[in-house]
Symmetry: C2
Subunit: 906 residues, 2 copies
């Protein structure tokens, strides 16, 4: 027989904090506090396993559950001396959800379970407080009818309002009619009458009676909490937070204690340290004569817990320290005990019932990025935690907040939203909106702060994107052109804001009925994907000494190197500042995207639109010095560090000129008619360019292109060596699927290498030769690829595209449906799919190392900057990850944490 | 020490016919004939292994080779009594290539090696025939200078002509000057002088002397034969025939015998049975006083070997049977002995030197499809071979010739070629060329035979393609739209004939300087990809009783079922005739391509361009009866046989109307402006539709589409069951990459199934539910897919696309370079890539069977009709292959042969 119930309380406690998976976070910590002999009202936790069985049984309880519940209830009764359903001394309980990881507000709670016509008189007699009892009763009715009778039964309200809103309106009307200001003003008689009218309304709207039997209430509440695990809000939350559906929730049934039994009663929430700054100060809020929900609901301004918590808004209000010094002392001791025990900042809930303190919850407290950093460093310095623990205390995902200016969260609260999109580039920015790259460049020249708004961007927009403070597009996903470029630069960017209707002709933007014109000001929160009207206040998060110290400690534990994807000397500089240990991806073609490269782009186009081998050779010769110079500069900046230089990758049509003016210019240069330019461009068009003529395939059909690039690399190196530098180039062939492709290009590389040695009269030109692994076939035959490749760099963007058969440019049409229907738990372009893409990576690692044990292995897809994926890379045994410059610190931290958590993987 | 040399001859023979891999075909059979004590001139074979070592050593002989050669030459000398290089009794030898599989004319031969100024006088004295000796000498000079001195050394002729042509012109000029008609007319003195002038010319043009040392000649010849393995012609041939580069060639060095030593000498070639008809008749040609090359060169009309070989052209010429009855008798006995020994038709070469018969070659003879069939059946009936052997005697690839009308090969010899393309649809056809689908339909209506010529075809051309006798396109590959459709129909089709420049406006076609107009007549050989001018004679290859008997025997041995890919009732009928055992792929969308489905296509378009769920539901309801009817008809034809019905697969944009007229029609039907039609169409456009919103992804975003299709399937079945039929539908979900997609669609299937049972009041509706495996991820997680799928059908077209990252629509730009550079040995869309795509298939088979041992496994990609791939499918343990109707017999035979060759695979 599976044991479903774990009791906790002063007499008997069966679980502890380590059992979060089984008991949920709340249950495990209640048990732990009980073990620590803290004043926890007795109760029990129904396990998450029971929740899963409940769903397996299509919403039926396992047969043995009821018996277990009755037994556990009897134990509570014997401890408290109260009896559930007893007319004289009735026990009331709460039913609360509690999942493995906190899902705040996503699931349900029912309080005061056990109040009914038979128990009400006894409770009144016992508490001598009729008002209190009827207030508790109306709360139970409101919660129960909403959660158990309506939501859990999936009843769709006829009037579209839902029972909760109906009852609330009835209560509001009563207050208005009678001139009551607060809930506490309502008279007992009014409350009594209201409860009856509530019950009538429930019967009318839901077609069922509010149950008057305590046991029915209890079982209904438990079932409803289970069902709330699959409620719409909870499911959406899980999608966003990547929480698996099969974790399930536990249910905590616990003796009710009341903070609203008069002036010797109170309730509060507190943090063992300041969650905003991380300061080592006990921080909290409380209310006298109130129930827990009153503190968080915001209907009453809560009092400061102590002097430390006082601020300009609440300094006139009485603190618990002042009002109930004895109880505060007891709470403060508990705070110290919990911090010493958990060695981390705790978020606690407490209730004082008629002068007695009860602990209702304790969990690791949420904190801002700054607070997380400060607390971790403080606790290390205090000797509370060791370095490994400290390193793991900072969630790599929140580092972004520390590295970019952000929209002031306070300002954001009251801002007018324009639209929502995907958070493609981090941080915040404001500016005047413009609709073309040209305008962005022009306006920026006259020192205006601009936001470039486009349907979607393409390489011709690059200058405008650089000039703009932020980029906003109506179409595209997290790996669209705009997103990739912006993230690479660390520029604020929102993509796929579908609500925007752009009219280029009138330079207007419509969102529903609202119209915005060129020059109007928007503020973007690129970390959240929110677009606001007007200029919001920004917060600067500049250089942080403590952060540097933290990262220095983290770096000690890392097993993987962290490189950067950098396409320009400027990127390389930024990345070095962020601690990059080399370049993992230098995309040779990106030099044609920059603002200063008009001439180079023109020559590239000339080469692409060449008809004959001779024309192409001539164009390549003109192009050569530009390519060599760009490579040389980057190698110089990265002196003594490895730089992986990828040969030409994208399909050529991407570079074809789009504007009539540029087309004419090319026509003139090639001495052909503009019609011929159209024709040649058209010949380069492909049905599926992503899986078309690109990467090494270009190098096979036009070996002269590879030759030019490789020669540029070697000559740049030769010149640097002669100048006393130590370049470390790694020549990388993209889009390979066959070892013979590598053999083909290697011949060119060897030839250029030998020729350069001769030309420059030098003895050695050290380099590595390797390949991207981004096509499933390449991963599957990695043993053969490794015969030629000295390194593999996993291009997990493309590998994901091919493994899923998902074109990342086109997933917009169905990705949301996939997430909503739980077919995928996350966008595989954001977080690496370990099941299949990961399987190809580990296969390639294993097969590659078999052929060449010393092979160097890295990743240069977008996943290189995703913490979860970095952990995977560590486990897979890669030597390095490479990511965009602004993600380098994130990858460093994630890699350090991976090494600490999985020390045996290497 | 590796043994490189294997001797053969009357005294000592080291190899036999089983050693083809080591000795090449020619060497192995010379050894076998020697073992059979047939009169084989003694010699030796240098192994293919030596050839590989030669290339490993960058064109140097292994150190031990020369010693082995000298030893073997000494053995020949001791047997023949002649000495190599001896001034008195010189031995002459031939050097011939001989690869594992025959590569006729692709590699080199040098005869008369050993003739030089020191040996000439001795040979003259011995033969008493000065003319013969100088004729042999000039032949040696011509061959040697061409093969050894020019080609093997990769010398590019300065005058662009090459030494061979130079020497031939000198000989022709001599003949013209002196009025000689034939080579044999040239006087001895003229020959002597010519040889001296040859040597001078060689010195001038090649900068080296013709070697006068027998040993130098021999070693040079051996090296040149090795090098010819990597000659341009040989490499191209290997690409076409899929022969691996590392097989290498052997070299056969053999005592020269001469058929040109007067009227008691002769030479000939023969087949042990008639290679054209298969008749059991000794068939051959011979020439008196001639060398072997004279028979095949076509410069003299050869004599018939015997009475059986006489025909209208040669009946006046003397047969060997008549001229040399004794020798003919000896040869005839040898023929009988060889047939009895090899149990297959042999192609033999013989030479008679001064009344003595020598056997120079014996190998399995090439034959026509008809001959192959007849010989196999005859030999079975004669009791020479068993059924298994018989089944393996017919190459599945040549079955095409038996199933389609073909261009008369005789007519083809003299035809005027227009262009060449890819052989996309088999057989031959002639017709008047037209340039639009509409014209094709119109002209066909007035009973004209038309060939539809298009840049490339799209679904809107379907009617025209149906109406045309053949289809010819200037663009596209073997799996382009035109190719797929034509092959499916078994219609003659040539694609990618790049030389065609089509001008739609003038209805003209240019090929270089030639211009063809609408109405001009072309003849197409779709099996070879040749386009000819004018109307060529066709050969009908109708119903063949013997073929049916042959196939019936083959079917007994098959382990796999063979189904067909059929999209229409007509296809289904054809396939049944060809022996299909069900439908492996019924593409529901193809019903919208047919000529009679205007209304259905219109409704589909209406559905696709619907904006709201309601609009779409309404359109689907209108569409429903068409879909149901089409499915019902097909299930009825395939009564009692499985029919795999694939749910909607292609991206919706494929169906969007292209013509203004069709767009207006849709606009009217949807009560929207035509501009809105453009807009909605544009929204469906994708960057990479092949990996975009298609297959099950459509079914997830628009579950109503799947619902309509599944409902149509079940209702069609229900109606058939009520009519006493036994439909066996298998519902297949395309483009899946995740087991949850299957769970999602299964819910729809279950719901429709249950609903149909109720509606039709029937007890059972048997069906299977399964999926395509065409995305790498699906193959990798096949264990999970099998939790929901009762069958897998490998869609190896798409699986190849994703595994290679090759868009089959776009490979045209690089595939030729890949084949030419030996990066790929064949187009992976034609022959399954066993290394990686095959690895995914076997992985999926293994993982799928692990979860569900009884899972049904099949293949429905184009590879299902490719013999090599069928063998792979057998080895992989699939239950069936499915291919286009006209390929069903090919797949049946290939499957039978696979089962015979690999009986232990299942």
């Amino acid at each position: 027989m599976t044991k479903y119930i774990y009791e906790f309380g002063p007499d008997k406690t069966e679980g502890d904090a380590s059992q979060k998976n089984l008991l949920g976070g709340k249950g495990a910590n209640l048990a732990e506090m009980a073990k620590l002999k803290l004043p926890v009202p007795p109760g029990f936790t129904i396990s998450t396993e029971c929740c899963n069985h409940y769903f397996d049984l299509n919403g039926r309880f396992p047969d043995t559950l009821e018996e277990e519940i009755l037994k556990a209830m009897a134990n509570i009764e014997s401890h408290t001396g109260m009896i559930f359903g007893d007319p004289k001394n009735p026990l009331l309980v709460s039913c609360r959800s509690g999942a493995r990881s906190s899902m705040p507000g996503m699931m349900e709670t029912i309080l005061n379970v056990g109040l009914c016509t038979t128990t009400i008189p006894g409770l009144i007699k016992k508490t001598n407080n009729e008002w209190f009892v009827y207030d508790a009763y109306r709360r139970l009715i409101m919660m129960y009818s909403d959660v158990v009778m309506e939501k859990a039964e999936q009843i769709h309200p006829k009037d579209g309002m839902g029972i909760r809103l109906n009852l609330e309106m009835m209560m509001n009307n009563l207050k208005n009619d009678k001139g009551y200001d607060n809930d506490t003003d309502i008279s007992t008689e009014d409350l009594k009458a209201l409860c009856e009218r509530f019950k009538k309304k429930i019967r009318e709207n839901l077609g069922a009676d509010f149950p008057d039997d305590p046991k029915e209430q209890l079982m209904g509440s438990i079932g409803a909490v289970f069902k709330s695990w699959n409620g719409k809000r909870a499911v959406s939350y899980r999608r966003i937070e990547h929480i698996p559906d099969n974790w399930g929730t536990a249910v905590n049934v616990q003796t009710m204690v009341f903070g609203n039994m008069g002036d010797t009663s109170a309730t509060g929430v507190a943090f063992t340290r300041d969650p905003a700054t991380g300061d080592n100060k006990f921080y909290g809020e409380w209310l006298v004569n109130a129930q827990g929900e009153d503190v968080v609901a915001g209907t009453r301004t809560p009092n400061p817990l102590n002097t430390d918590t006082k601020n300009s808004q609440n300094k006139h209000l009485p603190s618990l320290e002042e009002s109930m010094p004895q109880l505060y002392k007891q709470l403060f001791d508990i705070r110290n005990l919990l911090e010493a025990h958990y060695k981390d900042m705790q978020d606690i809930e407490f209730t004082i019932q008629e002068g007695r303190l009860y602990m209702l919850q304790c969990r690791v407290g949420k904190r801002t990025a700054t607070a997380a950093l400060n607390m971790a460093m403080d606790m290390l310095e205090e000797g509370t935690i060791d370095e490994r623990t400290m390193v793991c205390r900072l969630d790599p995902k929140i580092l972004d907040d520390m590295l970019h200016p952000i929209v002031d969260p306070d300002a954001e609260k009251t801002a007018v939203k324009v639209a929502e999109g995907l958070p493609a580039g981090p941080g915040g920015a404001w500016g005047q909106i413009v609709f073309t790259a040209e305008d962005a460049v022009q306006w920026a020249k006259s020192d205006k702060n601009v936001i470039l708004v486009r349907e979607e961007t393409n390489p011709e927009d690059i200058e405008g994107m650089r000039a703009a403070a932020a980029v906003l597009t109506a179409r595209g996903g997290m790996t669209s052109h705009a997103a990739l470029v912006a993230r690479g630069w660390g520029k604020c960017c929102i993509v796929g804001a579908g609500a925007l209707k752009i009219n280029l002709a009138t330079k207007e933007l419509r969102v529903g009925t609202r119209v915005f014109k060129e020059g109007d000001i928007f503020t973007l929160n690129g970390t959240k994907g929110m677009v606001y009207q007007g200029q919001l206040k920004m917060k600067d998060a500049s250089e942080n000494v403590r952060f540097k110290a933290f990262m220095a400690i983290a770096d000690k534990y890392r097993a993987m190197q962290v490189r950067t994807n950098a396409d320009t000397p400027a990127d390389a500089m930024t990345a070095l500042d962020f601690g990059a240990q080399g370049i993992g991806l230098f995309r040779t073609e990106h030099m044609f995207y920059g603002a200063d490269s008009d001439k180079a782009l023109f020559l590239l186009r000339k080469m692409i639109l060449s008809k004959t081998h001779e024309e192409r050779e001539a164009a390549l010769e003109e192009l050569f010095p530009f390519v060599k110079e760009e490579i040389k500069t980057t190698l110089q900046i990265m002196d003594n560090l490895p730089v992986t230089i990828r040969l030409l990758d994208p399909p050529l049509h991407e570079f074809v000129p789009q504007s009539r003016e540029n087309q004419q210019e090319i026509a003139d240069a090639l001495h052909i008619d503009i019609e011929e330019v159209f024709k040649r461009s058209e010949q380069l068009l492909e049905s599926n360019p992503m899986i078309g003529h690109r990467g090494v395939r270009l190098g096979i059909t036009y070996p002269e292109i590879s030759h030019m690039q490789v020669k540029a690399i070697f000559e740049a190196c030769a010149e640097l060596i002669k100048a006393g530098k130590k370049p470390m180039p790694e020549i990388m062939v993209p889009v390979t699927c066959n070892e013979k492709e590598l053999a083909f290009v290697r011949d060119i590389v060897t030839q250029c290498h030998d020729q350069t040695l001769k030309t420059y009269e030098i003895d050695a030109l050290p380099y590595l030769y390797g390949t991207m692994i981004e096509i499933p076939r390449a991963a599957l035959i990695a043993d053969k690829m490794a015969e030629y490749a000295q390194f593999f760099s996993f291009g997990t963007n493309d590998l994901t595209q091919m493994t899923f058969g998902f074109s990342r440019d086109d997933i917009g049409s169905f990705m949301n449906d996939y997430i909503d229907n739980a077919i995928l738990s996350s966008d595989p372009f954001e977080t690496l799919d370990q099941e299949a893409v990961g399987c190809l990576v580990t296969t390639a690692v294993e097969r590659g190392r078999k052929t060449r044990p010393e092979i160097k292995l890295g990743i240069c897809g977008e996943h290189g900057g995703d913490p979860e994926s970095v952990v995977f890379c560590h486990k897979a045994g890669l030597n390095y990850v490479s990511c965009s410059p602004y993600r380098v610190p994130i990858a460093r931290l994630a890699a350090a944490q991976a090494a600490i958590m999985y020390p045996d993987c290497r």
